[in-house]
Symmetry: C2
Subunit: 163 residues, 2 copies
DNA sequence: ATAATAAAGGATAGTTTTGTCCTTAATTAT
DNA sequence: ATAATTAAGGACAAAACTATCCTTTATTAT
C-alpha cells in the first residue's frame, strides 16, 4: 500500500516502535531473567513479538547508551538485569532510545511553549503531563516485571498470555 | 547527519509533525479567519511556522478527510472555519491525520491490551488515558482559538507572540 | 471571454525509522 | 588450542513520514 504526498498515519502510538520494543523487552527480561539465567535474543523477540535482529539493535542501545540492561557474549550468554537496574524508573528505558522528552514536550510541538509562554493547549494539558512524568519517574522496572509475573498480565504482541 | 542501523530519535513528540501542524493551523484559522475573512496558505504557514507546501497538503486533509476546515479557491479564496466547525472537539483534528488513536492506544503498543487483558502499564496509565481522551473530546476548537486570542498565548514555532 | 488568483492534487525527492544481512569479537565448553 | 555459541556492530534495504515541485481546477475580477 503506497501512499503519496499526503499522510494519514497507519499505526499511531505515543512512542516509537523502538521504544515500545525496548519497554516490552526490559519488562520481559526483568521478569524471566536474572544474573543466573540470561535470556537470548530469539527468546526475547519471540516473547514480546518483535523482529529479532531489530530487537538486537535495541538491546544494544539499552546496554550501551543507558545501562539498563546487562549482557554477556558466548555460550550461556545473553541479557539480564542487575538488581540495581531493576530499581531504575521506567523513564530510564525511554532515555536509551532518546525519547524521554515525549513526556515533557508541548502537545503542539512548540519549542517556546512554557508556563510563562503557554500554547493554547498548555494549561489544559499541564496536569496530564505532570502525572505522566510522575508515572515514568517513579514506577520502577521491578514493579512492572513483578506485575507481569502475576500470571495475568500481557506482554507480547500476539495477545498471548505470559505465565 | 546520517545515522545507520540503530535509532535514538531526533525529535520526539506525542504527535506527528503532520498532526502538530494540523492542530496549530486549525487553531490559527479559528482565531484569525472567518467566512468573511479567509486565510491563504502563505499566511497560515508563516504564522504557525510550517513549510507552506506541506501545510497545503495537511489543509487538504482537514477539508477533505474530515470536514474541519472549509476552503474556496480563486481570488479572495482561502481557508476558514464555519461556526459549526469551531464547536468541534480538538479530537476531530486528530481524526483528519488518522492519529486519533494515539489517545487510546496501549503504551507498550500491544493490540490485545485491555481492561481484562492488561499490559504491565495498563492500570497505572488508565487514569491518564481517561483524562487525555476527556480533554481532546470536550475541548473545542473555539475554546482554543479564543484562548489564543487573549494576546498572551503562543501559536507559532518561532516563539513569537500572536496578538 | 480573459486573465489572475488560490486551492486541489499528482508526482517525486529527501529524511527518518524500521528491519535485515552478514561479519567480528568475546566467552565458554571440549 | 579449537570449536561452538552469542552479543556487537557495520552495511544496507524497505517502509513511512516529511517536504517540494508543478500541473490542473475552481473562482473572481476585469
Amino acid at each position: 500500500m503506497s501512499r503519496q504526498g499526503v499522510a494519514t498515519q497507519t499505526t499511531t502510538a505515543m512512542f516509537s516502535k523502538s521504544t515500545e520494543y525496548a519497554l516490552r523487552a526490559v519488562i520481559f527480561i526483568g521478569q524471566k531473567g536474572s544474573e543466573g539465567k540470561k535470556l537470548g535474543i530469539p527468546e526475547i523477540a519471540a516473547a514480546i513479538g518483535s523482529p529479532p535482529q531489530f530487537t538486537a539493535k535495541i538491546l544494544q542501545l539499552l546496554t550501551k547508551n543507558s545501562q539498563v540492561v546487562s549482557s554477556v557474549r558466548g555460550p550461556n550468554g545473553g541479557f539480564f538485569l542487575t538488581e540495581a537496574a531493576k530499581n531504575l524508573p521506567v523513564k530510564a528505558i525511554l532515555a536509551s532510545t532518546g525519547e524521554e522528552n515525549v513526556l515533557t514536550k508541548c502537545v503542539l510541538g512548540l519549542y517556546q511553549c512554557s508556563e510563562v509562554n503557554p500554547c493554547p493547549m498548555h494549561n489544559d494539558y499541564k496536569s496530564i503531563r505532570r502525572q505522566m512524568i510522575q508515572l515514568f519517574e517513579t514506577k520502577t522496572i521491578r514493579e512492572l516485571a513483578e506485575e507481569t509475573d502475576n500470571g495475568k498480565v500481557l506482554i507480547n504482541d500476539m495477545g498471548k498470555q505470559v505465565y
